[in-house]
């Protein structure tokens, strides 16, 4: 669609929005570990500088363990949905590296505003994975305390949380916890969202606010190429990370299936924010291996060829190859992670099935911090209605 007289085709200038990066390291994609498990260097981002070989090995083993456990949470929850224990589940299969890299780059004082698929980030924040299931089972609307781990509740309305994140970051500025130079004090916020979300007004408004106030927020977009059935091309004509420039802050595209790179890039972006240098947009370029959710049928709109190609970029497999090939982990390590995953799976299965339904009357709780008389009357009316069944329903 080149418009005569109005300059070149955007795709010619920026490249197509959907760049496959078949052989890894395209110039605009930060990558530190190839799909084949080879370490590569990048001029702007590095991993493991100043670490001894043992420390480095330990950190990478940690990533492997985190991603493996995260995948198990996902697989187990998907199975639980199939068995009718969950109403729905938003799968993250294939997005483990994006989430663990981002999650591990956080400090305790940072704050996360997730969407509904950040199971790996939640795990990094120390949220019990069992709690994540409550929302999808329908026993609550997010069972964890957002203040306990600085990890907000899941947000279902697309993009809404990016504004909350920005406002929270503005609060941090006012509290003087930005740019003090004290690593235990300086803090930043991460807002997670998807490629589809980038079309929402809220997200664009969040960019404006963040830029305008130089807010310490990292916009972490997992571009998994799809918003349900709609491909990335339906949301943007230029690579997403280049949008940031138009709002006045840097955008970086990172290989979202490379945990070393997502860690390095997020850490740098967070540090920038904590130092008072403002927002960064991180586009983690990845792929949704599974369905959008357990109710979706991707065979209606996407090619199985694509899935097969992306399988070769599996984020966990490449770390495993790297560890093995470089003698950074022995079989006992892999066995222990597998055993830990089995235990976790077992605990999730049992825990989920044992999760009791809430009491009907609980629906009246917490509508307000200070209950109204009106609602109290309604609550009592419903209680006596239930009692009229002589315990049959209550």
């Amino acid at each position: 669609m080149t418009q005569a007289g109005f300059g070149p085709d955007l795709a010619e200038v920026f490249g197509p929005a959907h760049q496959a990066h078949e052989a890894g390291g395209a110039p605009d994609l930060v990558q530190l570990l190839t799909p084949e498990g080879e370490r590569v260097e990048h001029p702007d981002f590095s991993f493991g500088d100043g670490l001894s070989r043992d420390e480095l090995a330990e950190q990478v083993r940690g990533f492997f363990r985190d991603m493996t456990l995260t995948r198990r949470i996902d697989v187990e929850a998907t199975a639980l949905q199939r068995h009718g224990e969950l109403g729905i589940w938003a799968q993250l299969l294939g997005q483990e590296a994006a989430q663990i890299g981002a999650g591990r780059a956080l400090r305790p004082q940072d704050y996360v505003f997730p969407t509904y698929r950040e199971h790996g980030v939640a795990y990094c924040r120390g949220v019990d994975p069992l709690l994540l299931l409550g929302l999808f089972r329908g026993v609550d609307q997010g069972g964890w305390d957002p203040r306990a781990n600085n990890f907000g509740l899941y947000t279902i309305v697309i993009g809404a949380q990016t504004l909350h994140a920005t406002g929270y970051a503005m609060g941090m500025q006012r509290d003087g916890v930005v740019g003090t130079g004290d690593p235990d004090r300086d803090a930043a916020v991460v807002a997670h969202f998807g490629d589809g979300a980038s079309s929402q007004g809220d997200v664009n408004e969040a960019f404006i606010f963040a830029a305008s106030y130089n807010a310490p927020v990292v916009f972490f977009c997992q571009n998994n190429q799809w918003a349900i059935s709609e491909p990335i091309e339906r949301q943007t004509r230029i690579p997403l990370y280049q949008r940031a420039l138009g709002f006045g802050f840097p955008g970086i595209r990172v290989d979202g299936n490379d945990v070393l790179a997502t860690y390095a890039v997020t850490q740098a972006a967070l540090q920038r924010a904590r130092d008072g240098q403002g927002p960064t947009f991180v586009e983690a370029y990845t792929y949704r291996m599974g369905a959008h959710t357990t109710t979706d049928d991707p065979t209606r709109y996407r090619l199985s060829d694509d899935v097969e190609r992306w399988k070769l970029k599996d984020p966990i497999a490449r770390v495993e190859v790297y560890l093995k090939r470089n003698g950074l982990a022995d079989q006992a390590f892999f066995d222990s992670v597998a055993a830990e995953a089995d235990d976790l799976g077992h605990r999730l299965r049992e825990g989920c099935k044992a999760m009791a339904d809430p009491q009907p009357m609980s629906m009246f709780d917490h509508v307000f911090a200070e209950e109204t008389e009106e609602l109290r009357v309604q609550r009592e009316g419903f209680a006596s209605y239930l009692e009229s069944f002589e315990g049959a329903r209550a």
Binding site: G138, I156, R234, R300
Partner: protein
């Protein structure tokens, strides 16, 4: 395109057929929304339409509700008839400003020079075991806005006709589809029949003791309640409102004058809901015929709860019967 065929269809299929027929009849009709193309919408209501009418008429839009409705306004100003799909009730709010400030006021603002014939389809209501924002009943918010017409279908036959009538209507119509019924029951559709006009209510069951008013998903509940009440010797009249703004009070008032009693049921919160308006109007018009106050059975004034207790939140047959009994005992 009346081929005078009869077939048994679900509400989902009926809406699909209705949209298809409207698109065949009028080349200006376009569909817009998230996932409406290849996927056929998350509920498959637009299944196969992009294949047959092309991407220019069945438009997969970016993930932006304000954008969808806002651009549909522009299309309508250009002479197209956009039929917009909002994926779930709870996601209409990002478009709320465009709907209540722009869609609703364009005709008025332009002194009738740019009326805005467009349809905003919203799958609404609960009972499908979903997470939050997927089970809401926002009808009162739109019915409270002058300039919008709001209708709700309850069954496949109405779904088929009402969607076509809404598209043909010269004003913007918020078209509510009870998502719980999409695949629930089939009905025999005769596409050569003559439908009732769009903005009319209809008595769907005759009765003498109490009038039950319902729309969308609660029509089925009300009919079940009437069935159960009949077993106990009580005769309930059930009215499917079908149109929420404007309200068609004629059959309602006629009925209440006969029965002397009215119970309104909807899934939306009771406080300031449609039931409140109906109650006020019935009281104003039928005061001397009433044997009991108009009673309301609806969702409680809490956010829609977690799905494992949604059945307690939703008005069910027992709560409707309980209200009927209270009315009869008055």
């Amino acid at each position: 395109m009346s081929e005078n065929t009869k077939q048994k269809v679900t509400l989902a299929k009926a809406l699909n057929m209705g949209l298809r027929r409207a698109m065949e009849d009028d080349p200006k009709v376009l569909l817009m929304g998230e996932d409406v193309g290849k996927l056929g919408g998350v509920f498959r209501i637009t299944d196969g339409l992009q294949k047959d009418f092309g991407e220019d008429r069945v438009i997969d839009s970016p993930l932006a509700e304000s954008g969808i409705v806002g651009t549909a306004i522009g299309m309508a100003l250009r002479g197209y008839k956009p039929v917009v799909e909002i994926q779930f009730d709870g996601f209409v709010y990002p478009a709320y400003d465009q709907i209540v400030c722009q869609v609703a006021k364009m005709c008025y603002r332009s002194q009738g020079k740019t009326p805005l014939p467009m349809v905003i389809r919203i799958p609404f209501g609960g009972g499908i075991g979903a997470v939050e924002h997927h089970s809401e009943s926002p009808e009162a918010q739109f019915a409270h806005t002058p300039g919008l017409k709001v209708v709700a279908c309850s069954n496949p036959i109405d779904g088929y006709w009402m969607i076509q009538q809404a598209i043909a209507a010269p004003d913007p119509v918020i078209f509510l589809e009870p998502k719980r019924q999409y695949h629930a029951d089939k009905a025999e559709l005769d596409d050569s029949a003559t439908p009732d006009p769009l903005f009319t209510s209809r008595v769907v069951r005759r009765g003498a003791d109490c009038t039950v008013l319902a729309y969308g998903p609660t029509v089925k509940t009300a009919l079940k309640a009437a069935e159960a009440a009949a077993g106990e010797g009580k005769s309930l009249e059930v009215i499917d409102l079908r149109t929420l703004s404007p309200l068609d009070m004629t059959p309602v008032l006629e009925s209440v004058r006969r029965t002397g009693r009215a119970v309104v049921t909807h899934e939306a919160h009771v406080n300031l809901g449609l039931g409140a308006e109906l109650s006020a109007r019935i009281t104003e018009e039928c005061f001397y015929s009433l044997e009991a106050p108009v009673l309301r059975v609806g969702g409680f004034d809490t956010p829609y709860p977690a799905s494992r207790i949604e059945e307690d939140y939703l008005p069910d047959l027992d709560r409707v019967l309980d209200a009927v009994d209270r009315s009869l005992d008055f």
